[in-house]
């Protein structure tokens, strides 16, 4: 039992120094400014902006979201303002001292690389998160992150395009997350983010159609947390890369579970919709947990899970 104020919450994620291990997840935190009325962004370790493409994109027709048991489905598709507008308009609107990780996705590898280039050397961008959960047109629409060879080519190309700290965000829709993690490590990624939403389908029984206009969507929220914890734990055993864990985090206890499984930092996603100040509450709760359990530094929680049989 030590004093909460004394707890050292600082971590370093893939070369990015963070004041605490709590970030917010891409696509659930807009471009940051939307949350200004609800919390001081500087209380967070940082945030990952909505994934960016080369040009602005419009996304899918409605319905784009659906509720699911302890979760939600979404099929927003690529909608975003585009990398240039992000650099020109969104970044300058953010208060000083906010750590920004830019997320990128595209449908072809060279376009991914180009987006990475344009984000490199931009003052306010502390790191990149490569969203590999995007359908790869050339390989028949399966996600970049679902094929080790395709993922390797993608990471290599983006690695060449930037010197910024590079996190690769893995798709959970795979047999062996460890294999994907090793591919990223081999290709020079600085860290991993996992998990993205889980591919899912919800049906409207009255209309006998999928609820989402896109048919399939991504499942997020507490429902996927036990799956995410499993994958973070598996990835941790497969590679040495630092991991940013996410999937259904709704409380500080949830966040601690990810740290214990070996994540250096976490991202709060869907919970931001229910409570726009949620991430700040997670920070305070982690500090309290450390104090209550006598951890003077949050880094000592990372990987502190005891897997021996009781």
């Amino acid at each position: 039992m030590s004093d909460a104020e004394d707890v050292d919450l600082r971590v370093e994620l893939a070369g990015i120094p963070l004041r605490n291990p709590v970030l917010t997840a891409s696509g659930t935190f807009g471009y940051g400014t939307e949350f200004a009325p609800f919390l001081d962004l500087r209380r967070l370790g940082g945030f990952v902006a909505k994934s960016l493409t080369l040009e602005p994109r419009r996304g899918n027709p409605p319905p784009r979201i659906a509720e699911a048991p302890s979760g939600m489905l979404n099929a927003i598709s690529l909608e975003n303002v585009g990398v240039d507008a992000f650099v020109r308009e969104k970044l300058p609107a953010l208060p000083e001292g906010v750590v920004v990780v830019a997320s990128l996705f595209e449908t072809e590898i060279d376009r991914y690389a180009e987006v990475a280039k344009r984000l490199s050397g931009v003052a306010r961008v502390s790191g990149l998160e490569l969203n590999a959960s995007c359908p790869h047109v050339k390989s028949g629409g399966i996600e970049f992150g679902q094929n080790p060879a395709v993922l390797a080519t993608l990471v290599r190309a983006v690695r060449r395009a930037t010197t910024l700290p590079l996190l690769v965000k893995l798709s959970p829709n795979v047999t062996d997350i460890g294999e994907m993690a090793r591919v990223c490590e081999a290709e020079g990624a600085d860290g991993l983010s996992l998990i993205n939403s889980v591919q899912a389908l919800e049906i409207d029984v009255e209309r006998r159609r999928p609820v989402l206009s896109n048919g399939l969507g991504g499942l997020s929220g507490p429902a996927i947390r036990p799956i995410a914890l499993r994958m973070v734990w598996q990835a941790r055993r497969a590679v040495k890369l630092p991991i940013c864990g996410m999937g259904g985090i709704a409380s500080a206890e949830d966040a601690v579970k990810f740290l214990l499984c070996g994540a250096t930092a976490v991202q709060v996603g869907t919970q931001n919709y229910l409570d726009p100040a949620a991430a700040a509450g997670v920070v305070d709760g982690i500090r309290a947990y450390c104090a209550r359990h006598g951890f003077s530094r949050v880094v000592d929680l990372v990987g502190a899970l005891d897997m021996r049989r009781p």
Partner: protein, 269 residues
């Protein structure tokens, strides 16, 4: 537009009205006030130590009206019991906590000379304050047309009557007011005088019809859309409404009130 807040509100009172409608008064600390047409995101059910994770998403609800009660600000919500989220709301007891985020969205804005308010279903809750303020500012310039399947489904009629605004009602079974659709009333009104600005809120089909009728008469029409929402403040991109001009608007951020002529109604969910 007042800046939105996020707060744990407390249920001041809850009462059923008609068959499936409820009136909920929430005590909202530091409530900044609202513009007609704005809404809040409500999270009912257990909070704090043992939070609810199902149903997960908050529910968008129009702010019906506001008041000061013994030094505290309260807002009223008029809602229909529909599925699991509104079932949780209907199960609230005085003193229960409800998460509130709001006020959100852009409302109807300054209303014009003559206002013709057309509402059905849960949409009625979105237009009450508009009628109240218009009547207060320029008495006699607002007409309200309300519709429902049957009389017992109509929310808030007594409040509109108390305002003293010109009020017409249509029910499909004729149990209250004229038998027929509220859009029939609108046609008759505009036939008599097409100079009024139409403000519509209700089921998509009804609003679409209002838009067509107003357009055919050359009357301006604003519609307040009710799309499913996850966040309510422009970050999930879930509430997209298709635009005539192409692309999408976000109902929670760019609306919920839109120029009805700008919406590609055939593409609405």
């Amino acid at each position: 537009m007042p800046a939105p807040i996020r707060v744990d509100a407390q249920v001041a009172s809850l009462s059923q009205e008609g068959t499936a409608s409820w009136r909920l008064w929430l005590r909202v600390p530091a409530w900044p006030g609202f513009e007609p047409g704005q809404f809040v995101m409500l999270s009912p059910g257990p909070r704090g130590a043992a939070p609810r994770s199902d149903p997960l998403l908050p529910r968008p609800m129009a702010v019906y009206r506001e008041r000061r009660a013994n030094g505290e600000s309260e807002i009223e919500i008029l809602f229909k019991r529909h599925g699991r989220g509104t079932a949780l709301l209907a199960a609230c007891a005085p003193g229960d906590r409800v998460g509130v985020v709001g006020p959100l969205g852009r409302g109807f804005g300054q209303t014009s000379e003559r206002a013709l308010l057309v509402a059905g279903g849960t949409g009625i809750a979105s237009v009450y304050e508009l009628a109240a303020r218009q009547e207060g500012r320029a008495p006699g310039t607002a007409r309200v047309l309300l519709g429902a399947r049957t009389g017992a489904d109509l929310m808030g009629v007594s409040d509109f009557e108390a305002l003293g605004v010109a009020l017409e009602i249509a029910t499909e079974d004729g149990s209250l007011g004229r038998r027929g659709l509220v859009t029939d009333l609108l046609e008759a009104e505009l036939a008599r005088d097409a100079s009024a600005h139409v403000y519509a809120c209700g089921p998509t089909a009804m609003m679409r019809r209002c838009a067509e009728i107003a357009a055919s008469r050359g009357a301006p029409c604003s519609a307040s859309l009710e799309n499913p929402m996850a966040c309510g403040f422009g970050v999930c991109l879930g509430c997209a409404a298709p635009l005539r001009a192409g692309g999408f608007a976000l109902v929670c951020r760019d609306g919920p009130v839109f120029d009805a002529a700008a919406i590609a109604w055939e593409g609405m969910p």
